[in-house]
Amino acid sequence: MNILVCIKQVPGSNKVEVDPVTGVLKRNGADAKMNPYDLYALETGLRLKEQYGGTLSVLTMGPPPAKKILYEAFAMGADKGALITDRKFGGADVLATSYTLSQGIKRFGDFDLILCGLQTTDGDTAQVGPEVSEQLGIPCVCNVKQVEKVEGDAILVDMEMSEDVERLKVNFPCLLTVQKDICEPRLPSYKKSKETAAREIETYTLNDMADVDEHHYGLNGSPTQVQRIFPPETHKARETWQGNGEELADRMYDLLKSQKFIA
């Protein structure tokens, strides 16, 4: 079985702030790291590889330093890695990102199973996985909380919904996004990290893709456009209320009602 895990480098902390005077984003300089959700996708892939054989590849998209997380994946047991990087891919929204990834995946190889984390900690949209599956024309299951087994050319998984858990059988090739409760990710191995430190990775730029029309990538290929960014209004008002019991209760009621805690 050929397994691909899509991973992303995210800021080490999500405490980004806007300077209220200049409107400039204040960077906190914290180190970038692998999106925590992706560790669960990686572990899921590694366990499937160990049980059923095959290879496990990892793919990421980002500036050149993002290849660091490919080596982290190697230290956990991944076999092959590829980095998609090009200035022309900058400013991509969900659609352009998923299109770029789907182009990169086609270039990288033929995969039976593509695994993604449920979402990233910087974008939090949980949309890139299902959009990649659509761009590749393969079935997709999100919110996977358990992989039961591989059966012939299909995989049996449990999908978590709001009221129930559904056992699904999905034909290969397919894409799954996995939840955090699916398994406990292993730690990187020092030995593997030493062994793989010089491993070659593939690097793809726009010219390596089957579709080289730059209007389909980056900001140009993004249907959504950010008009502006601004700091949120803080509603952490600190207020002290005094009065008799009835007044205070009525005041609480009115505020809770306006905040929709009371229907």
Binding site: V18, G23, G91, V94, L95, P130, R238, N244, M252
Partner: protein, 397 residues
Amino acid sequence: MGKLVVHQDKIQDIKALMAICPFGAMTENNGKVEISAACRLCKLCVKKGNGAMEFVEDEPKVQIDKSKWQGIAVYIDHVDGRVHPVSYELLGKARELADKIHQQVYALFMGHDIGKAAEEILHYDVDKVFVCDKESLGQFNMESYAKVFEHFINQVKPAAILVGATPVGRQLAPRVAARFHTGLTADCTVLDIHENSDLVQIRPAFGGNIMAEILTPNTRPQMATVRYKIMDAPQRSETTHGVIEHFDLPDASLKSRIAVLGITKKPKEKSIEHADVLVVAGRGIKKKEDLELVYQLSEALGGDFACTRPLIEAGWMDPRRQIGLSGRTVRPKLIITCGVSGAIQFVAGMEHSEEIFAINSDPKAAIFKVANYAVVGDLYEIVPQLIADIQQGRKIA
């Protein structure tokens, strides 16, 4: 769209210019500034760079004809015909947006045995409910549901589609958006609309510390997901004015590579960590029987209850309901503490709650330092009155 151009001659201070970029996408190479793949084209450098950075527009893109896309549609999220309340909230928002641009409100409803539920949708000021009622749509299946969705968009051509950010909506909406090569904005907290039917979508970016205003200016339909309890729920009206329009697709076209083998109902989870609303009892509760006040208030608010360590030691509550360093950490949307003094070990387990009301008769209580609303008074007077207000629906003057 365009690209960034660096005017090296206009750079006064390379370090200062590079510091503007929040993504670290500018690098210095032999005294020249270069832009790396980390660039997200936020254009802050253009705004703040004193002319050193310029955004050069490409040849203008062919503009789509927006008049061909009319109406605001809402995807009706449901389980076995029981409509998720987020769908009603979105119908209310859709009406507000549609009225602004004098267009209609549509609902898209797919599933099996949903005729009655579709009639009910009409009571929420909807002009047309498009219903696809088939046995093969009895359970959510991303492929067949996306197919029905696709058919609806091709036939109706709505300007915008709102989808609840439920486990179904969060996977179905991106599948459909990618099929139409259109924009999808997740978890919008504010929605508005321009006269040209461009949907103004506002959502938190970078983990909620920054808000972004997003448009989908040149593709249709525009798509957005919204979480439950973000928009106001509309009033159900007794009368209806809309119509139901049935449509059908051949079963063969709904074939899927995903098969549902079985469904297990989840047990109702009862853990204080999952509660959106928590009412907490502290030592200000004088005797065990009085916990009834806390139970009643939490029930009236549709939430759960918890307590501090002294009450656990007294054996008044299940230890799994203790908040604090030696208990659980909670982060509900609303927490109301009743007679809790606010020991540091307790505060560490709840200080990230979104809205904190603290009721305590001691104006110097430590809990007031973390509370958004410090309610100085006797819980034995306030809580019963608050419960009565909720049960009877106090009239706001």
